[in-house]
Amino acid sequence: MEDYLPNEYDVVVVGTGMTESIVAAAASRIGKKVLHLDSDEYYGGLWATFNFDGLQKWIEDLKVSKTSTKDVSEVDLESEETFLKTSNEYSTVENIEETWYISNDADLPVVSSKDTQTDSTGDGSGSGDEKSDDDKVEKKENVKQWSIDRIRKEYRKFNIDLAPKLLFARGELVELLISSNIARYAEFRAVSRVATFMDGKLTQVPCSRADVFANKTVSVVEKRMLMQLLTSCMEQGADSPEFDGFRDKTFLEYLNTKNLTPIVQHYVVQAIAMATEKTSCRDGVNRTKHFLNSLGRYGNTPFLWPMYGSGELPQCFCRLCAVFGGVYCLKRQLDGVVIHKNKCKAIISGKQKISLEHLVLGQGHLPPEVVTSEGEQRISRGIFITDRSIMQGEKENLTLLYYPPEQPDQEPVTLIELGPSTNACPQGLFMVHMTCKRTTNAKEDLAYVVNKFLKAEPLDPLAIRSSIHSHTQTVSPDKRHIQEGDQDNRGESTEESPKPQVLWSLYLNLPASDIKLNESTPSNLHLCSGPDLELDFDFAVNQAKSIFESMYPDKDFLPRAPDPEEIVLEGEEAPGPKFEGDTEAEEKQDVEKAEKED
């Protein structure tokens, strides 16, 4: 049975993605009556974060078409009204490919006495403390080796992002969260290192002044060079005369005139500006400035990651919308929109016709009639559960890596590696997210980076076993397997820096975020794009701001919401709430009362 909703609103928002949710919160905050719908049973649309089970359901559901079957003839229209059916074709996810690289419990080798023996001989011949420690852990964990069943069983401990995004510490979203007081709904973890691939290996990029000066790979002269360059980007910005001659040139062309050493140039281009050969000087300088601006606010790097995943953030805005009276209804399909004299007059949802002043639509709910271009900025994504970090350190890290293309036909890839402390995965595992612009399909687009940093081959214990005996193709190339007679692939954990083994992977292509509407689109219909290619949420925040401005040009955009302490409630006689500080008498009474009751 369908829930009956009130029939009239100022603003109807369909889709709970980032932009939609910000607009919903902003409208509700200034007292507009808001209805916020989503056809899915979860928040976030393509911005969602799922636990492992939820992700499996999501993949299953993609196979089922959700497009409305409603026919125009079923819609009760008045004269001069037209009905446009909405379509989900602009939020189509393609090329889903899920792969397991590990086995089910049942297929794991039984721990035989021989294996145990092997372990103990390993212990005996252990060359160092580290080794024997490892073995102890292995023994204990033996039964608890990662299997498909175990990952499924621990599904709640995963938070898997469809569109992982970071926040610049002084970016649009952080400022908005603070100024609107929505920050209280979320928690963050600072990205602990920015990595770059240089001279055949991954290194941590020195981000702060202290880092730069502590760095041993850069000489004193280079350090001065770097600081000078960064200062000119930071203090003067792209409009400075310093960059006058480079208006039409690339960032690289500018840097080439600065006689930087290769290392310094590498840091600036690949890690700080995250630029390619094509990046314009202006963009490069602005990106550098953005990076530097955000340094030193929280943690070692300019970036924050939302705890429990990016999908939490749209929900924070939804919560605020609800707190200010917004009505929420998930699992509610939008069938179409009713147009009257080039204005959106109402939506049709189920049996209801709901009237509105403004209609805000996520890109998965557009009538094809208003779309002129599907956009080109399509996204390739890869998600990997791995058994260790791409760059092992003493403590758990949250790593950002920008990897530039190796070949002209490749796209730069952004890699975010999350550990258990972000709640992305259980202890002992890591979650790697890769994102790039789509050229072919996700798997092909990302292959060059996957092969560089991960071991994405099946980890079949039986296969490894047989390969050792036959001395043919060995999945794990280290000789210790044979030397120590260790018939277990886990022996490789003592290797210097083995690539993380992929336990599970998912590839998918997300739709373009730069979809365009045609000029005859009703002016009170507002489009919210899906996730974009940028690292952060700025695009969504800015889009939401401009939508809100076009709806309510004279109103404040998300003014600060009061803290509970600041709200004077109706019927309350005291001038202010009495929660804090001077409440001792009150509390004592409470305690006494409670004691009596006990």
Binding site: N51, Y308, V323, V327, F579, E587, D590, V591, E597
Partner: protein, 205 residues
């Protein structure tokens, strides 16, 4: 630093109209009924109580109406220390929905969260759910159980005081749901937990 030793987040769930907001208002303000308009803009309520001579600050979160069409955000459940599941003893459907709520709780709340089942509105004379039925349900699902009346202020104080005492006990024996304490809270305050004397939260602004 504010003057309290412990800060706990308590969240309420349950069908619309079972009296969640009334329970919160009765406890924090001593008011009933809370008045409709007042709910707008109120996010959570705070009350500091004293348990065994220690100040305990309770942050009590209400659903903001999102339960009406079963659309509570997952993030609502994050970092909760206690969860109060409320039904109306005079309304069978609100009791029948409890398994649905439990499923949602299982999915999103920490599995160590303290759970309390509350049958509200015992002032009503048209009771549909006998006390022992509620009790049985709570027992089967490892929950504490209490019947209350927000209207008559019956057991409301006790409900929250017992939660405060139990959470403090757990905090002392370190059984509290462990939420990451090194997270960054970007408004200069922290909504994460616990014993503030050794909380590792970054208090940045």
């Amino acid at each position: 630093m504010e003057d309290y030793k412990f800060l706990f987040k308590v969240v309420l769930v349950g069908n619309a109209g079972v009296g969640k907001t009334c329970l919160v208002r009765r406890f924090t303000q001593g008011l009933f009924p809370p008045g409709q308009g007042a709910t707008i803009g109120v996010d959570f309520m705070i009350k500091t109580v004293e348990v065994e001579n220690e100040k305990v600050k309770l942050q009590i979160w209400d659903t903001a109406g999102q339960e009406r069409f079963r659309s509570i955000t997952q993030s609502y459940y994050r970092s909760a220390h206690a969860l109060i599941l409320v039904y109306d003893i005079s309304c069978q459907p609100t009791f029948d929905c409890l398994p649905d709520w439990l499923r949602e709780i299982e999915e999103y709340a920490s599995n160590k969260v303290l759970r309390i089942l509350v049958g509200n509105k015992i002032d009503r004379e048209d009771r549909e759910i006998p006390t022992h039925v509620g009790e049985d349900f709570a027992q089967r699902h490892g929950m504490y159980f209490l019947e209350t009346s927000a209207k008559e202020a019956e057991n409301v104080e006790r409900l929250f005081m017992e939660i405060a005492a139990e959470l403090m006990e757990q905090a002392r024996s370190k059984e509290l749901p462990r939420y990451e304490t090194n997270t960054t809270s970007i408004n200069g305050k922290t909504t994460s937990i616990g014993d503030t004397s050794n909380c590792g939260c970054s208090r940045l602004s």
